[in-house]
Amino acid sequence: MSLERHRNILDYTLQALLRRKFKNIGIIIVFTSMISILGSIIFLSYSFKREATLILNASPELIVQRVMAGRHDLIQISLMKDILEIPGVRKVEPRFWGYYYDSLIKANYTLIAADEAVLRDNRLLKGHLPEPQEKNVTAIGKGVADARLLDLGDMFSLQSADGRWIEFKVIGIFESESDLLTSDLIIISTRDFKSLAKLPDGMATDLLVSVRNKVEAPTIAKKIKERFPDTRPLLRDEIIRTYDAVFGWRSGLILICFIGALTAFIILAWDKAMGLSAEEKKEIGILKAIGWETSDVLEMKFWEGIIVSLTSFLTGIILAYLHVFFLGASLFAPALKGWSIIYPSFRLAPFINPYQIATLLAITVVPYIASTIIPSWKVSITDPDELMRG
């Protein structure tokens, strides 16, 4: 069978679509909206999960925190020695970090003392990172720099725990593979951190524990818990799972908010699947009467379904992509990020999971084509005389 037949049928199909252009435009608009909403939710939650995974992949297998009345408290640095004695532990480092609320731009920053891990994972755009003992200097994430209009050499004030304003000179601006990690990050020297936070001597925010064999991490965590009951060892994998669950839960919540639009789309597809209009039935009757076979009619309907659904799908995906990765997902980001909406704004790196796109295609385009073809098949096997009588 040559291509001419398919070309002729496709040509007729395009004309048929144009003849019912208002109806088809309406379907495309609804379909595209659905796909762009679903696509945005998928892109956003997947990108956040991916970002979070990137951050956590670089972190050690265990983070040990001290818990007081169920809340995170400072931990004694002296515990490092005891933890090092547990078989399988390779290294223990204290970490000094906290949050800082900037009332000027209503943003939360993450404040961290310069250490080896920080230096390892970041790429400097300009300048350099502070040395652990360096005074009154800071390196900031690109998000902070953009939000506060800071550049190298500028002064940046932070208020200490006892109310004093301390000035820091910006000596470095950096970014890392994940904007989520560094966009709101402020790095100062360990000495400055302790001074700013009024941290008691011998205390740290938490301890980072690296193990020789990551399979042993849960066992080591258990031993730490047994030895120090007031601590809370956090496994990296557990944190990743928690992120997954939170983002999955939140994206599900957003989906529920759009249930109205989803319902409208389902009703539309159901209405299509239930049957053709009298005009469409008559047209099929005429085509059958003048010599079109059932397979020709079905091929026409297939093209019709493919053109409408693929156009809508591709447009929806492109809109979703632009919405999430160029417009900052302004519609959904607050719901997905949660408390972190008071971050300085940052742009997600485009992470697209082809499996999810394929799934979205399978649950939207395929049913739509089926809902176009099945009622047409039922009609096209009817005698043309009956169809034309109405």
């Binding site: 069978m1 003849r19 085509l287 009467a289 010599g291 020709d296 005389d385």
Partner: protein, 240 residues
């Protein structure tokens, strides 16, 4: 070898069989039409003319009986075979014309051969030639809903001829035409008959069935053929 191109044997057609609105549209009809004849099915509305045409033209199946087209029994063929027969053997001019609205005259004419391997350019050329032969070349790109009734009629004729069928079926072709156009229509049919086509027309218009070149007249009433008149070029005799 018989030159009877259409034979129906005791065909009956019920609509809505077994339901309260059951209708017996055609009742035990046997007719024979020779190749090259102009045959007319005559009768009032509701006499079964359109149903008989649709049975002959393989657009519906008889409830009982046989329909033979070019010697082949088509009564119980699967739909896909009937479609091929319709496309290759028949050209239809429907009572309501059934042109596809929104599509141009030329594209309506091309429709029967769309799902074939004919190149679009060849298909278009053939359509344009047909339209020119019917005096429609100036309207070929007009949407069909924007042309007159007579022009639509000629478009329907061109569509019926695009596949060069052996048998042309016309259902009440002059119902919406004035005397002049009705005469023109019959002239076209006569011309086709002279080229060897078989023409079957359902009508109650005397301007059609009184033409002396009509070979067969089947008078129908209540779904049955009550009377058959057979004429040849020099003889006019009643049969039955």
């Amino acid at each position: 070898m018989s030159d009877e191109i259409i034979i129906t044997e005791n065909i009956t057609k019920y609509y809505n069989r077994g339901k309260p609105n059951e209708v017996l549209a055609v009742n035990d009809v046997t007719i024979r039409i020779r190749r090259g004849d102009i045959a007319v099915l005559m009768g009032p509305s509701g006499s079964g003319k359109t149903t008989l045409l649709s049975l002959i033209g393989c657009m519906s199946r008889p409830t009982s009986g046989r329909v033979m087209v070019e010697g082949k029994d088509v009564s119980r063929l699967p739909e896909r075979f009937l479609t091929t027969i319709r496309r290759k053997t028949f050209g239809f001019i429907f009572q309501l014309l059934h042109l596809v609205s929104g599509v141009s005259v030329c594209e309506n004419v091309m429709l029967p051969l769309c799902p074939t391997d004919t190149k679009p350019s060849k298909l278009r050329k053939r359509a344009e030639e047909l339209l020119e032969s019917l005096g429609m070349s100036g309207r070929k790109d007009f949407p069909v809903q924007e042309i007159s009734g007579g022009e639509q009629q000629r478009t329907a004729i061109a569509r019926a001829l695009i596949n060069d069928p052996d048998i042309i079926i016309a259902d009440e072709p002059t119902a919406h035409l004035d005397t002049h156009l009705s005469g023109k229509f019959m002239t076209i049919m006569r011309g086709l008959q002279e080229k060897g086509k078989t023409i079957i027309i359902a009508t109650h218009d005397p301007l059609v069935y009184e033409k002396d070149y009509v070979h067969l007249i089947f008078e129908m009433r209540d779904g049955m053929v009550k009377h058959i008149t057979q004429r040849n070029d020099s003889l006019n005799k009643k049969v039955l």
